[in-house]
């Protein structure tokens, strides 16, 4: 029964989130600020992880398929497929759930326990819309760019590590990343990214918005935001892969 209660309250919160903004201009300005806070400021960690993961994928692929029967360019092909289909959209989203999700839950949760959300409500401001909609718009708009940058850096990191370590020639790697390329795979990755951005933002905001108590509870909400976002991302990943790729 408890899960039904949370489902119901989550969807009622979403209804308020998509309520009519009091001042569109203020919401838009907040969206730009959130794009900087939640997106641009995540660029460093996304770039670092992507480059290193791409490098590791290339080296591991080479060591695992080191056979005269398999052509050298397959390493580049496997790196591209791993990065575009799974690493960039899913793993980066899981990492963003940790960084961005905890930030959202902690910020909104702190505002709740300090009565700042009550203050918004009493002023007649739609607090759910004012606090959550700009974050949601920001992550949905900026996360696809983060993931595209991640794709590029992942493949670039793979090429650099492969060539530098001498496990593959530059020409073979480039041939591999061009072979059998399906543009729909990028579309599929970006669809997943947008869905995951929605999951991260709304679940984290839900956890923060309904925080009760003090700083300890804010911490608990923050942890729950990350755990639940990760679980739902993994489930959604399976469903989307089944629906979009099969």
């Amino acid at each position: 029964m408890q899960i039904l209660f949370h489902f119901g309250r989550y969807f009622l919160l979403l209804k308020d989130v998509f309520g009519r903004p009091e001042r569109f201009r203020i919401y838009w300005r907040r969206t730009l600020e959130e794009m900087d806070l939640l997106g641009v400021q995540s660029l460093g960690i996304v770039a670092l992880l992507s480059a290193f993961m791409g490098a590791v994928i290339t080296i591991q692929t080479k060591t695992n398929i080191d056979s005269p029967l398999i052509q050298a360019w397959v390493v580049g092909f496997a790196t591209r497929q791993s990065v575009i289909l799974e690493f960039s959209p899913t793993v980066i989203s899981l990492i963003l759930a940790g960084k961005v999700g905890s930030n959202i839950a902690a910020e909104i949760g702190s505002m709740r326990v300090k009565e700042q959300i009550d203050a918004l409500d009493i002023m007649g401001v739609n607090s759910a819309g004012y606090l959550i909609l700009p974050k949601l718009a920001a992550t949905i708009l900026i996360n696809p760019f983060l993931v595209m940058i991640s794709m590029f850096l992942g493949i670039f990191g793979g090429w650099l590590a492969g060539v530098q370590a001498g496990v593959i020639s530059s020409d073979d790697f480039i041939l591999g990343i061009q072979t059998g390329f399906k543009p729909f795979h990028v579309t599929y990755a970006l669809i997943k990214t947008v869905v995951f951005a929605f999951i991260i933002t709304t679940i984290s905001a839900y956890q923060g918005y309904f925080t009760r108590g003090g700083t300890r509870e804010v911490g608990i909400s923050s942890t729950r935001a990350v755990v639940y976002s990760n679980v739902v991302i993994l489930l959604a990943n399976l469903v989307l892969t089944r629906v979009l790729l099969l």
Partner: protein, 254 residues
């Protein structure tokens, strides 16, 4: 004027308020007093719509708040100013931006006009040259005053103050009390102050409601308060040595 009729509220099995009826008059400082946990803050939150009561209703100039649609409720809320116990200033906004916030959300006019109005409100509560500071950079007393400035920015008809003196030194507490009284007279607001500070009650209370064990135990004026023979009320009023001294002096003078 705000009228509460037969209001009851419970959280799970915990009955917090039972059948409260009271009238809060316009142009007066109405005070809700009572011990911690008596239900006075819950009563206030029911009145402003943060909690929905199980029974009863709250009438704003005859209009039942809980029977209004969302748009009407939003309209009433724009006529309410509230000072929270914790001040509830937005951490990420400067002092000036906090006071400008309700204006930006609801008022019409240029940015400059809103800035002028916000500065006027800050001047009114004696906050000068603090525009660009953040709430964490000013004292608790100043935060309360900025909270009052934000509450009066939209020229409210109804002003709620939840324990405005808590955590303040006696001098600052008197300043805040005086300010609330002055603003009530100036804007002719229906002011409701939740407090358990007897100094505040004696300074500003005009229509006083005593809540005990979730029920309205007593209602009257400041003068009636001192002459009351209600046992629970007297236990509350004369809990402190200062008030006991006042009582002894009064009794000796009779």
């Amino acid at each position: 004027m705000i009228e509460v009729q037969g209001l009851s509220k419970r959280f799970g099995d915990n009955q917090v308020l039972t059948d409260i009826s009271a009238v809060f008059e316009q142009g007066k400082v109405n005070q809700i007093i009572g011990m911690s946990g008596s239900g006075k803050s819950v009563l206030t939150k029911c009145m402003v719509g943060l909690h929905r009561p199980e029974e009863g209703r709250v009438l704003y100039n005859g209009r039942s708040f809980h029977d209004m649609n969302d748009e009407e409720k939003r309209g009433i809320r724009q006529e309410i100013g509230m000072l929270f116990q914790s001040s509830a200033l937005f951490d990420s906004l400067t002092v000036l931006a906090n006071v400008m916030f309700p204006l930006k959300m609801f008022a019409r006019g240029s940015e400059e006009e809103m800035r002028e109005r916000a500065r006027f409100c800050l001047d009114r509560v004696n906050i000068v040259d603090k525009d660009d500071l953040f709430p964490s950079q000013i004292s608790g007393g100043m935060q309360k005053r900025v909270g009052i400035a934000r509450a009066i920015a939209m020229e409210p008809k109804y002003l709620f103050c939840d324990e405005p003196n808590s955590g303040l030194d006696p001098q600052t507490a008197i300043l805040i009390d005086d300010l609330i009284k002055e603003l009530t007279e100036e804007y002719n607001t229906t002011t409701i102050v939740v407090t358990h500070d007897m100094n505040s009650v004696m300074e500003t209370g005009e229509n006083i409601i005593f809540i005990h064990q979730g029920r309205k135990w007593w209602q009257g004026s400041r003068q009636e308060l001192l002459n009351s023979d209600n046992t629970e009320l007297n236990e509350f009023i004369y809990a402190g040595e200062l008030m006991r001294e006042v009582k002894r002096a009064r009794d000796a003078g009779r």
